[in-house]
Symmetry: C2
Subunit: 648 residues, 2 copies
């Protein structure tokens, strides 16, 4: 955490100085115009709101139909990749502290000798070693909301949701393709319900609107888009319970396939006592809806008791329960840009894709949707990037949703199939060992670390991947530990990737002494500091800190006691803020006391390389250290020149 | 974190359910009677308040002369041991996140070739490997206060300080030695200053009063006690600055001895820019006070610039500065129990001992003072322990303060002495290499991990130390990682030592299968669960959870996949709370995936042993697994029998 740059301040440094001048509108009034209107306070909406709240100059509002914050959520699985993102928002440690950690998963099937009893046949580590520096955890969605709301409330605009507001109409003014369109082309009408129940209509004009309003999205409907897909005619029940059982794996994630009574997925919950059970119910008839069954929680409990035999389950309290049917549905596109125009309305999360909850993907993929969108919106609104960049959102995230839905279909089918009986193999079903193998194979996917964005305006083809095989272009930057040069602190390099809208340029240096004027590091820093074609010079606004658009960091191969700040080029000791203080956190050393090294861990060439990382933590480009022109060209594709000191 | 035991609750689980019935008195009124009145909202007072807030049945109030919380504190060093304690209070991660980490220290002396320039002659790791699982950090004292205030506000009584209150009188009713004394023998008179400046007198009767009111303690004065010691006639300046410098170690802790201009200690501060400088000023004349010098901050800056030559220092902002003189003073006793009666008034922190700030010990030792006292007060007030236990506070903490003062005197003298000139050794001074050696040697002391309490009513002689050489009796329990059996989570065993007033019994098992009925583990658990002389049975109140007074945990030598909850004795799967839910967090496994093992790390005998740990995390006793009678006898020395089910 860096703070006090512009003067010492007392109090909590995570609370930003409030924007002066403009009063943030209160909960009972929406401004007439906003830059971004977010519809829906779910995980996707709050991720976006927290992201946009990082920019004091962007006017964001987020509206929600409910009267207040969520207190009891349905989603609970939090993938490793998601916690990497939470780290960027500054609250990973809260989640890691409070959540249940999914460390291992066990597999149960009918006992071969006595098939009306279940027996354990497998046990695996849940997340492979080294996949992420964070664990896979389980935490009530409402707590994730709380943490986002806290980030928003501490932002310069003290952003808070506007509750009790239902979208009733959305209209987009057609863009004049030959010239600039209207400043605020989207008009949204909302119905605001007072605590007394009176409805009042409000109209807001927005530059951009994002529908994070769930599977029944009003925004999606207003765009004339629909979810396509089907239901699998399989009903499931889910319940969060406080219970007494002699089932030995009640504090482990466990999949249980009984011979005749169906399947259960056990997900232990935070706090040490609560547990979630996903329970397979009867097949539904064609066109039958689960709601027609009038399933009771007693029926769920009885089904769980049958499946768990010979173990007992005595439910003491049901915190929450529901029944649902599995289905996988997907929207054709995630924005209103079908006509080739710049999109101004987007949808994210369940508004674009729905699937079964058991793989714990829904909340995670939804948050990654809007994390992908947020920095793009901010770049365009702040005048840093060309609006064409916004088209990459639908392309990138729809491909991820498509993969998710295919995975979910296969996983759900396998989960619902009866286990193959080794005494009677011709009766069909899924081999439990096969199920376990599939589960392991998909570990990276469910951890959220398998996403790979295709080459686009903002992501290059992997022409120089051999320079850093462990940092695949298009995939999230996989962090590893390093030592910060100036203060000898062991840190995770990836944790400099804050959710602040900045691009990062990691310069993995070669072995040359960084004080050598002809070293590749010095030459590159010289280019970045001085060349008229330097992207740092071209795209940083006059008067802004030199690292405010592209944040350059160097990783040296020297040990931190072999070199020091005095050996660094001045570009890596930038003077910042009102006092021109030196930022000492730009340089790191690879060798760790343990003998490990990020060059080894991520297969980075000893010749070094430059790794460009997007504001959403995805690797966009890898280039040789001397590829100055290519570095310049990469950013010039989508960034906009800024007024420089002395320019008109 | 364990929660939801007595039913699912939404929201932040660290917020306790408010005590029903009794309204916590508002900020403008003090109750007539309290159990504990704490005077002073410094580190010692807040540690005590946070500790007592853990017990809803104890009525605590804390008063403070200032009108509100501290915003800018003078103390900033936080030792490893202190963060271990913060972990027990549940906020270590906040401190570790926000603070500067002291990773390495460098040593500078006059350049041998040109003695008017300083040159680096040493660099060391600040804290030896494995000394603690936490780092040594630097953080503004006011933030530590904030974290404690948050713990207090979230407690069942929503404890908040009563500000603007000055102690004007304190009177203790003499105890009738032949029988029970008055319930609330201490009468305190306070002057409450309203925001408008009006003074109003208030009287509070208390069972116990604790003076945490600093070096000029009113409570100490009321007891007729005084600080003894002397001043060293050496003036120092201290300033927190935002500055630009080319001194390369500005982000490392650095000690600098110049040839002619004096010494500086550099302490980098949180946030990446702020730095603290302790600057040696002129010697004071005999009986001269530093305040008479009228030193200015400009003079401090000029002195720093002279000492740092040839490096430059350009100060942009001074966040805080002060001048002080070094002195070491100590009180003869820390309570009012000089006459052999049970003490009812205590003093803690600077009220008992003062010394120089440079070793970063003051805040740490003060907090450990009241952490030592808090659980003892709680045990007595809750009727769990004999009041005689309270005498151990002054004995234990005065010995620590005595050591601190001796260390500080030597360290300060060495710091202030001029560096020996190798070209002119007969002119005297301290060899810089000698200073560095002393610094390293005292590392454990300054980390706060060297404290060893002597045998007493609550701490046994180390007769069985050979069973766990790495867990010295009388010293703080040195944590090590283990795997929790039921959910395979890697955890630090020491982190089960919450600040909740409970004793812990760690049963380090032998190699026998825990399911074997004749194993030492099973026999010991059988004794604890069933014997009439079991301390768990004797000292746990009827109706309370079985672990509410003595929390028993087992550490197995088996790997966590070799055994499971089904192998454990029922005593290690206790049924708790209103539903009788099973607590699965009592058993751990020693073997880690890395091959490490707590038995090896702490030199615990493969034959196993029992380690009894006090509520303030200090090892009180080590015994063989079969020493049932000795375990019972240890607790019987100071604990009180509780009414058992069926007893009158």
């Amino acid at each position: 955490m860096q703070f006090h740059l512009n003067g010492f301040r007392t109090g909590d440094p995570s609370i930003a100085e409030a924007v002066a001048g403009e009063m943030p509108a209160g909960p009972d009034q929406l401004p007439e115009e906003v830059d971004v209107l977010i519809v829906g306070c779910g995980p996707a909406g709050l991720t976006l709101a927290a992201q946009l709240a990082a920019f004091p100059e962007i006017r964001t509002r987020i509206v929600e139909e409910k009267a207040g914050p969520l207190t009891l959520g349905q989603a609970d699985g939090i993938a490793c990749r998601t916690i990497e993102m939470f780290e960027a928002f500054g609250f990973s440690e809260k989640v890691v502290k409070e959540a249940y950690w999914v460390n291992e998963t066990t597999f149960w099937k009918p006992d071969d000798r006595q098939r009306d009893r279940i027996a354990r046949h497998g046990r695996i580590q849940d997340t492979e070693d080294g996949l992420s520096e964070f664990p896979h955890v389980i935490l009530n969605q409402a707590r994730v909301h709380d943490f986002y709301l806290d980030v928003m409330a501490k932002s310069a605009r003290r952003l808070r949701p506007d509750y009790s507001r239902r979208l009733t109409a959305l209209h987009v003014t057609a863009e004049d393709r030959a010239g600039p369109g209207p400043d605020h082309p989207v008009t949204v009408t909302l119905s605001h319900r007072s605590p007394e129940g009176a409805e009042r209509s409000e109209t807001v004009k927005a530059r951009f609107v994002v529908g994070c309003d769930g599977a029944r999205s009003s925004v999606r409907r207003a765009l004339g888009l629909a979810l396509h897909g089907d239901s699998a005619n399989q009903a499931w029940g889910v319940m969060d319970v406080l219970a007494v059982t002699d089932f030995p794996d009640i504090r482990l994630k466990a999949t249980i396939h009984s011979a005749e009574s169906g399947s259960i997925l056990i997900i232990p919950r935070e706090g040490g006592y609560l547990v979630r059970l996903y329970i397979e119910l009867d097949k539904l008839g064609k066109d039958e809806r689960v709601s027609s069954r009038n399933t009771t929680v007693e029926a769920l409990i009885a089904a769980a008791q049958r499946i768990l035999r010979p173990y007992t389950l005595e439910v003491k309290e049901v915190a929450w329960w529901s029944v649902y049917e599995i289905g996988q549905r997907l929207c054709d596109r995630f924005d209103n840009g079908a006509d080739g125009a710049i999109p101004h309305v987007f949808i994210a999360g369940d508004a674009c894709h729905t699937h079964s909850p058991k793989a714990g993907q829904g909340m995670n993929v939804s948050m990654q949707d809007s994390f992908n969108l947020g920095w793009k919106l901010a770049s365009v609104i702040r005048g840093q990037a060309r609006p064409e960049m916004l088209r990459t959102y639908s392309d990138e995230r729809r491909a991820v949703a498509q993969e998710l839905i295919e995975f979910d279909r296969a996983f759900a089918a396998m989960f619902s199939a009866p286990p193959k009986d080794p005494n009677n193999p011709e009766s069909g079903g899924v081999d439990p060992a096969e199920f376990q193998r599939y589960f392991v194979k998909q570990g990276r996917f469910t951890a959220g670390t398998a996403t790979r964005y295709q080459p686009s305006l903002i992501s290059a083809p992997p022409a120089h991947q051999h320079l850093a095989e462990g940092l695949p272009v298009g995939m999230r930057f996989h962090s590893a530990p390093v030592i910060r040069l100036a203060d000898a602190k062991p840190v995770h390099l990836g944790h400099v990737l804050r959710a602040d809208g900045r691009w990062r340029m990691f310069i993995f240096s070669d072995r040359a002494d960084p004080s050598n004027p002809s070293s590749a590091l010095r030459l590159l820093c010289g280019f970045l500091a001085e060349s008229p074609s330097s992207p740092v010079r071209r795209f940083t606004p006059a008067g802004a800190d030199i690292d405010s658009v592209i944040d350059v960091r160097a990783i040296l191969q020297q040990g931190h006691r072999e070199t020091g700040p005095a050996d660094l080029p001045a570009f890596l000791l930038p003077r910042k803020g009102r006092y021109g203080l030196i930022d000492y956190e730009k340089a790191f050393c690879a060798p760790l006391p343990s003998g490990e090294d990020i060059f080894t861990a991520r297969a980075i060439s000893p010749e070094g390389c430059v790794v460009l990382v997007r504001p959403d933590q995805y690797v966009a480009q890898i280039l040789p250290l001397n590829a100055h022109a290519e570095i310049a060209a990469f950013f010039a594709r989508f960034m906009l020149d800024q007024a420089q000191p002395g320019s008109p």
